[in-house]
C-alpha cells in the first residue's frame, strides 16, 4: 500500500522532470575509504574532567601574533585565557558543558574542533584550493596565501568549525589543522590532557580502541561512535554517555552533503576530454535554433526592407 503510493509519487514526479537529479543521492551515500596512514583523535567525553588544559595549550601552540589584539597578547602573557563560548579566530579548540536543567548531576563535557572529515564540506566548497585534505594523513589544511576570504567553507561545514577574523583589515580563516606546524607530531591538546580523554593516533587504531571501550563498558556509553560513519566518516571520533545531539554534535546522515553537491555538479558538468558535455550541448542547441530563427527573419526582412537597407550589412 505504502510502496504503491510511493511508486505513484515517484512516477508523478518523474513526469514533471523531478527525478532528473535523484541519482545524485544514491551515488553520494557510497562512503570513501580511509587511507592506512590517516590520523585523527579520539575524544572520550566520559573521561574528560573539563579542566580546559587542552584549550589553553591549543591557544598558545597556535598563537598568531599577526592577528591578535592587544588584549589577546596580554591574556596570554598572564597565562589567562579569555572565556570563549564559541570557537573563534583565536580558539581552534573549545570545551563545552552540557547541563541537564532538571538534574544537576546530569552533565557532560564535549570538545569541539575540526573533525577532519573524510569528505569535507569545506574542501569541496573552496573555489581556489585553499582548503585541502592531505592525501596521506587525512588532515584538512588551510593555506592563507591562496584563500580569497569568501567564507564558503564556513557555510559548507556542518559542524560550524572554520572561523573568520572579522576584526582584521586583512583577515584569514582559522581552524584546527591538528597542529601541523609543530614538529612534535602530536597535537597540543592530546599532549597535555591529564585524563587521556583525548588521544592522537592513526584513525584505524583509534577506531579499534573506541570499539574496545564500547565492548568492555557497554553501560558507560551510548552505543555509538560518533564520526565512524556520520557525514561519511570523520577522522576525529567521539564516545559519550549523553546523546551526541545534546552535546552539540548534529545528527547527520551517513553521507557528506559535499558528496551530494559534487554529484549534482558532476551530473550537470560531466566532462569528456575536459569538455563539459551538457553546457556545450546546450550552446550548440541554442545556437542552432537561434541561427534558424535568424535566417527566417533575414528572409522576411529582405522582402520588407530590401530597398531601404540594401546597401548596409
Amino acid at each position: 500500500m505504502k510502496s504503491t503510493r510511493r511508486r505513484f509519487l515517484q512516477t508523478a514526479a518523474a513526469g514533471i522532470g523531478l527525478t532528473a537529479l535523484s541519482p545524485t543521492l544514491s551515488a553520494a551515500s557510497e562512503a570513501k575509504s580511509f587511507g592506512p596512514d590517516e590520523v585523527g583523535m579520539l575524544y572520550d567525553s566520559t573521561l574528560c574532567v573539563g579542566c580546559k588544559a587542552c584549550v589553553y595549550a591549543c591557544r598558545s601552540e597556535n598563537f598568531d601574533a599577526d592577528s591578535s589584539s592587544e588584549l589577546d597578547e596580554k591574556a596570554l602573557a598572564e597565562q589567562r585565557w579569555h572565556d570563549a563560548y564559541e570557537l573563534d579566530y583565536r580558539t581552534k579548540n573549545i570545551i563545552k558543558l552540557y547541563q541537564n536543567p532538571d538534574d544537576v548531576n546530569d552533565f557532560a563535557f564535549i570538545k569541539r574542533q575540526c573533525n577532519h572529515c573524510q569528505s569535507p564540506g569545506c574542501v569541496s566548497a573552496c573555489p581556489v584550493k585553499a582548503m585541502t585534505k592531505n592525501p596521506v594523513t587525512g588532515t584538512v589544511q588551510y593555506d592563507k596565501n591562496i584563500c580569497i576570504g569568501c567564507r564558503y567553507c564556513q557555510m559548507a561545514c556542518p559542524f560550524k568549525i572554520p572561523t573568520f577574523e572579522w576584526h582584521m583589515t586583512f583577515p584569514k580563516i582559522s581552524k584546527c589543522e591538528l597542529c601541523r606546524q609543530t614538529p612534535k607530531g602530536t597535537p597540543a591538546c592530546c599532549r597535555v590532557c591529564p585524563a587521556k580523554a583525548v588521544i592522537y593516533d592513526k584513525r584505524s587504531i583509534l577506531l579499534a580502541e573506541a570499539k574496545r571501550r564500547l565492548a568492555e563498558n557497554p553501560d558507560r556509553y551510548i552505543n555509538k561512535i560518533y564520526g565512524e560513519y556520520d557525514y561519511g566518516g570523520t577522522n576525529v571520533l567521539y564516545l559519550s554517555r549523553v546523546d551526541f545531539e545534546k552535546l552539540g554534535l548534529p545528527n547527520l546522515p551517513n553521507y557528506s552533503y559535499a558528496g551530494v553537491s559534487e554529484n549534482i555538479q558532476h551530473t550537470l558538468y560531466k566532462t569528456f576530454n575536459h569538455v563539459p558535455i551538457a553546457p556545450v550541448a546546450l550552446y550548440a542547441a541554442l545556437a542552432a535554433v537561434a541561427f534558424v530563427q535568424h535566417k527566417r527573419r533575414g528572409k522576411k526582412d529582405a522582402g520588407n526592407e530590401a530597398k531601404k537597407d540594401g546597401g548596409e550589412k
Partner: protein
Amino acid sequence: MSSEHTYVKAPGKLITPTTVILALIVATGFSIIGYRLVFGLGVISNLSDGYPWGVWLAYDVAAGSAFACGGYSVAILCYIFNGWKYHPMIRSALVTSFFGYALAGLSVMVDIGRYWNAYGFMMPSRWQTNSVLFEVAVCIMGYTVVLLIEFMPSALETLRELKPNSFIKKLADFTAPKLDKVLMFFVVLGMTLPTMHQSSLGTLFVITGQQLHPLWQTNLLPLLFVSNAILLGFAVTLFESGLSAAGFKRPFEAEAFGVAKVVPIVGFFWLAVRFGDLIYRGHILTAFTPSFHMVIFWIETLLITAPIFIFLGKLNPRKLFYTALLLTLGGGMYRIDVYLVGFNPGDNWYAYFPSIPEALITFGFIALEVLAYIVLARLLRLLPAVHTAHN
C-alpha cells in the same frame, strides 16, 4: 540591418533632482566601503561565524543577479521562441543586466576578506572544479564580459554619430560591421552562461545541508533557481518598461503585453517543481505546520502565485506594472529565503539582520545601478521606438 528606426534615446537632462539624490546615496555607500577596507568587515557588518554570508550575497548577488536576468529571459524569448518579435525590448534589458551583474561582481569584491588573492581565479593550478562557487564565479565573470560585448552595438551606434573624421568615429565605423558578424556567437553564450550560473546559485546551498530549512533545502535547488531567474527576468523587464514609461514620460511599450503572456508558462512550471518537490521529499506537511518558516513560505508562494494568475487575465499598463512589481518581490524573496531566512546554523547563533552600514552599501549599489541606467538611456539609443500601446 539598420536599427535607427528601432531604438531611440530617452528624453530629459542629465542633472536632475533624482540623479543628484542617487549620486549622494552612491557616495555614502562608497565611503562605507572605504571604511570597511581599512577597519575590516566586523566593524560595519553583523556578519558572524554563524552567519558568514549576509545581505550582500543574498540581495546583491543571489537576488540582484536574477533581477538582472532581463537580458537572459528576453534573449531566450526573442532568439529561440518567437523569431525576434520582442527584439526592440532587448537593448534596455541588456543594459540593466550588465549593471546588475557588474555590481554583483563588485559587491563580491567588497564581501570577500582576502580580495587581493582573487587573481587565483585566473590560475588554472588553483581551480577547484568541484566547488560550486568556482563555477558561479567564473560564469558570472564571463557573462559580464559577454553582456558588455552584446551592449557594444548601441554604444558604437552613438559613437558613429560623432562629427565625421574624428578618430573615434573612424574606429567605431571600422568595428561595428565586424562586431555585427560575430555578435550571434556572444548572444548564444549570453543564453548559455546564465543557465549555468543561475542554477548553480541554487546548488551553492545544497552543501549547507541541515542548516537550510527543509522547506527550501532540496537537490532541485538548481532547477528552481534557474527557472526562478527566468521568471524574474521577465518580471523585471515588464516592471522596467512601466518605470521608464513613467520616468522618461514615454508611452507604454506595446511589446510588454506580449511578454506578459509568457510569464504564466514559466510561473506554473516553477510552482509545479516547487510543490512537486515538497511532496516528493515528504515535506508538504511542513508547509502547513505553524512556524515562522511556514508564514514566510506562504508569503513567498502567494507573492509568486497571485501575479501569475493576474497575468492570465486582461491587462492595462498600470496593472501590468504593479503585477510585475509583485512578482519581482516574490521571486526575489524566494532567493533571499534560501540565502538568509531559511538558513539556521544552530541555536548558539543570534539570528542575522543586516546592520545599517551593510544596508547602506547595498543601497549605494542599487542607486548606482539606477543612476547609470538613467544616464546611459539619455546618452545612447536604448529604448524601443514606441508603437503606442493599445490593449
